[in-house]
């Protein structure tokens, strides 16, 4: 028995090393399964909670076209949540349980969504920066070792890049617009820049799960590597828009062929993770409210389906 286990483990390791995808029916170590369920469900929750800050502006979008684009975008995020919950279900997790864990605070979601959207420019900034950071994090996940997760990410990434382009376009329009609009854009940029850098997670030396996840090829790059790439990509875009990066320590480092950037406020990061961000309470309360107010609808759909099935059976009999 023990030998079989050892064998399976070796086969698993070999597959991972050879970049052969692990599929739901394949044997996998318990810890691998648990890590994936945690990561995928956390990702799904982020999509769903992420609908709220942007949804906040759907009814106030300034033109018919912007309204349609924003509504379609937020709807896409719901779709991402669905694919990801489905991917987690292939590992034996149930959607109801995952959602219950989100509502109880047991499961986490990306802290970025605990910040408020105060002006229309925040919608541009989120698309440009937050979807941009999501792409940076997620493109490598298209090659992650677990098949259903990798496939979900391929679909998600395609849409995220639309979102980023739309966000950039909003920023561009504002930056080329009236002084009030440009000011709005800069203020939004100031508010979202640092929290976006925090999206890549704690510094490598403080990220306990990174090493194992890299070995299992769930993760392909470390937090700091991705953060650096993001800064290097975004600074020229900010310059193009005519926006000032809110970091007085930002300098080009010829030797590393990248930017050196200032100290991230890790106290703020951990404080938001622990639930003290400006919107943590409201976000969860909103989700819980939607869930509770929808309970009778879900029950009715179930009850009706059962009645139907019964009637069908009676007909057959």
């Amino acid at each position: 028995m023990e030998e079989v286990e050892v064998n399976l483990e070796a086969q698993f390791e070999e597959k991972v090393a050879k970049d052969i995808r692990i599929e739901p029916k394949d044997w996998m170590p318990d810890a691998y399964r648990k890590t994936l369920i945690r990561q995928i469900s956390q990702h799904a929750h982020s999509e769903i909670v992420g609908m709220l800050p942007e949804g906040n502006w759907i009814t106030r979008a300034p033109s018919l076209k912007r309204k349609a684009i924003l509504l379609a975008k937020v709807q896409d995020e719901a779709g991402h949540g669905l694919y990801l919950y489905s991917a987690a279900e292939t590992l034996g997790a149930s959607r109801d349980q995952m959602i219950a864990d989100l509502h109880s605070g047991k499961a986490k979601y990306s802290s970025i969504f605990n910040y408020p959207t105060l002006s229309w420019a925040d919608i541009g900034a989120i698309g440009w920066l937050v979807d941009g950071a999501a792409i940076m994090n997620q493109v490598p996940l298209c090659r992650t070792s677990y098949g259903p997760y990798a496939r979900a990410m391929v679909r998600v990434c395609k849409e995220e890049s639309f979102h980023q382009r739309q966000g950039f376009e909003i920023m561009m329009t504002l930056c080329n617009g009236a002084p009030e609009q440009k000011k709005m854009a800069q203020e939004a940029f100031n508010r979202w820049w640092w929290p976006t850098l925090m999206m890549f997670g704690p510094k490598d030396e403080e990220s306990p799960n990174t090493e194992q996840s890299m070995r299992w090829r769930i993760k392909r790059f470390t937090n700091d590597e991705l953060r650096q790439r993001f800064v290097d990509m975004m600074v020229p875009q900010a310059e193009f828009l005519g926006l000032t990066v809110p970091d007085k320590d930002l300098t080009w480092n010829e030797a590393k062929n990248g930017y050196d950037y200032g100290q991230i406020d890790w106290d703020e990061f951990w404080s938001v993770v622990k639930g003290n961000g400006p919107c943590n309470k409201q976000r969860i309360q909103t989700r819980v409210k939607a869930d509770q107010e929808g309970a009778w609808v879900r029950e009715a759909a179930l009850a009706h389906a059962e009645k139907r099935a019964q009637r069908e059976q009676q007909k057959v009999a």
Binding site: G55, I58, A72, A78, K289, E293, A301
Partner: protein, 276 residues
């Protein structure tokens, strides 16, 4: 009922090239007023549905509500664009949506009613879809080429909407005791706004004569038949002798519309004349 995300309409921007017909000025004015009325109707309902985004009872239905909202906003844009062309004063679709005040809006009262609970939203949608679907079917034959083309495109979407809201009426009516109570309350709340859909304003009567719009009494027959069929399956009773509210199509609205417009017009009103 699981809605496939891949079928979700994205931003199919539709451009209709049919030129504005050679109308006598007074007829053109009527067509303009009427096009605005249709646009206002789709817009306010689409806006109301968009309020649900992120708050739906279950993810799949959250997405379905947004889909319908997107379809209606798409229809709205085609109609406002046509209205702007008919008017010929250089106004845009956004000027029509964002710079007209409550009394200028000509949507029927039904569509501005608040979302309420999911049952209210379903009943409002069902009453509307059952009208919209049969209406568009007829409007395809309009002597106005553009309205006919817009109707043809919207009909495809509307046939999905009417299916969705009808199925939900059946589920909620013939679901649990609670869902039945709630959908009955929704019928009670919203039925008084169903009659206005079929009442013809002076503008509509004249346009009927010109063959631009269909006769609503025939649409009413189709509506009655569809409602009866769905309610029967849902084990619900069709209300009788209800007093019908009206006025929206002539600019006399309920108190809700002012708040809807305040919210949706906020940026355009705060920063006049800017591009977004």
């Amino acid at each position: 009922m699981m809605h496939n995300h891949e079928n979700a309409p994205h931003l199919h921007e539709q451009h209709f090239n049919t030129p504005v017909q050679d109308y006598a000025p007074e007829v053109k004015q009527l067509v303009l007023e009427y096009t605005l009325q249709l646009a206002d109707t789709s817009f306010i309902l689409g806006h109301r549905l968009s309020e649900w985004c992120g708050h739906g009872p279950v993810l799949e239905q959250d997405m379905a509500l947004s889909n319908i909202a997107l379809d209606l906003i798409g229809e709205t844009r085609s109609l406002y664009q046509y209205a702007a062309e008919l008017e010929g004063k250089g106004r845009t679709e956004d000027d029509m949506a964002y710079l007209r005040d409550t009394v200028e809006y000509k949507n029927p009262l039904l569509v501005e009613q608040p979302n309420g609970d999911f049952g209210d939203t379903i009943m409002r949608q069902f009453i509307f879809d059952s009208f919209h679907f049969f209406f568009l079917k007829e409007l395809q034959n309009s002597t106005d080429h553009r309205l006919a083309a817009i109707a043809e495109k919207s009909l495809k979407e509307s046939s999905y909407h009417i299916k969705w809201s009808s199925e939900w009426v059946i589920r909620l009516g013939d679901g649990t005791e609670e869902s039945r109570k709630r959908i009955e309350k929704a019928i009670d709340n919203l039925w008084p706004f169903s009659g206005e859909l079929f009442m013809m304003t002076a503008t509509e009567k004249k346009l009927l004569e010109h063959g631009v719009i269909p006769d609503y009494s025939q649409i009413k027959n189709s509506w009655d038949a569809h409602v009866a069929k769905v309610f029967q399956e849902a084990t619900l009773a069709v209300p009788q002798n209800v007093w019908m509210q009206s006025g929206g199509k002539e600019g006399r609205h309920t108190e809700h519309l002012g708040f809807v417009l305040t919210e949706l017009q906020y940026l355009q009103r705060t920063y006049p004349g800017l591009e977004w």
